[in-house]
Symmetry: C2
Subunit: 203 residues, 2 copies
DNA sequence: CCTCGAGCTTAACAGTGTTAACTTTACTCA
DNA sequence: TGAGTAAAGTTAACACTGTTAAGCTCGAGG
């Protein structure tokens, strides 16, 4: 398979797939629908992407980049480590709720899909977590947070963010709980949970 | 549609669907596969379940009951509110990781599915959250936790539990992070996050 | 002019959920 | 007893899905 989608048709396929993904959602992205939209036969796609997985992986790749950009933008200079972390958390949640189709293919889609996700792309996806980890590490260095493995901490934060994004996004949360309130409480709790407590350092 | 799956074939369909779900996973549960396994035609299923959704909803119902049982069992008498909450958290995570097929149809499956989920079953599913909320409320009453809307708190806890279960279950967490360590840190953090801090009551 | 290969297509396979129409069996009622 | 009916299950079909194998078209090179 070609690596860089700069050629004509491959670009067109990827663009159409993205357009379909963002407009009507992942469930409506099918090889035939993509092909019909651009006036080609469905099998043409297989000339550029070995199978649907590869095509979706390309879209995941775009999503990873988009999220990285959002997290990076949130991570402005001149902020305290705690503020950095807070802004990143908000950026993550916003991404998850405003780009649910990307979020779905990136973090929700069935395990089978992700197992075939190439290792080198996995590494790239990890950069997003590392951005969060670095904010935590900075806070620990500044003695604002308790000493703790920053990568483990980042995963802890990630799980919490992922949890609130998926529950809200899938409309599984009771509507009597105001969405904004749950988000605020989540961010607040994340920050607070890292602060140094009088009981001293904990595991 | 019949309400109670006590009749012969309906029972058989549900049992086979469950068996297929737990043995080979949701992706392999198809009307034809269920029917083949019991020597009936696929359309027979439609005599008892209006569509696949209804059949899956019946399985979700079973899952909700299973989880409730687990949470209820964890909620033993003679424990402190804090211990109650901790045991429930562990029970939830264990359920999610040991019965991933149930967890998938209950809490991961695409929103489209859940929108058609009947309101009365939704109410039943909420009992699980209320069990967690009651433990939190008890802790607040005992002044171990800060005063806070216990239902909002329960959703906060739920999001965190859901996050760690789905990330671990989908194998998206870097394998250099030991699973058990992440779980311990999560439970620990949940409990700790509710404790009264010297800075006083917070939102 | 002929060959070759890039680029794309048609036809097909095996699978999915679902519907309409049909059969078969058994039971009720005049 | 015979007719009618309703229950229980069937077959055939539709419109989809991802994917593969084989074939077509057309322009460039020798």
């Amino acid at each position: 398979m070609l690596k860089d989608p700069e050629t004509g048709l491959q670009r067109l396929i990827l663009d159409t797939a993205r357009q379909l993904l963002t407009s009507v959602g992942y469930a409506q992205v099918s090889m035939r629908k993509i092909a019909n939209k651009i006036g080609y036969s469905a099998t043409s796609i297989y000339l550029y992407y070995g199978n649907k997985d590869e095509l979706v992986h390309a879209l995941i790749d775009e999503g990873v980049d988009l999220l990285y950009q959002d997290l990076y933008d949130a991570d402005q200079a001149g902020l305290s480590p705690e503020e950095r972390l807070e802004k990143m958390c908000r950026a993550y949640i916003r991404f998850g709720l405003e780009k649910p189709e990307y979020y779905e293919i990136m973090y929700i889609l069935h395990p089978e899909y992700i197992k075939r996700y190439p290792a080198e792309k996995f590494r790239k996806a990890r950069r997003n977590l590392e951005l969060i980890a670095s904010a935590i590490a900075a806070a620990i260095d500044a003695s604002q947070f308790e000493a703790m493995d920053s990568m483990l901490s980042a995963n802890l934060v990630w799980a919490q963010l992922h949890g609130v994004v998926t529950l809200l996004g899938s409309e599984r949360v009771d509507k009597r709980i105001p969405e904004q309130e749950l988000i605020e409480a989540t961010v607040h709790q994340i920050i607070r949970s890292f602060r140094i407590t009088p009981s001293g350092v904990e595991v």
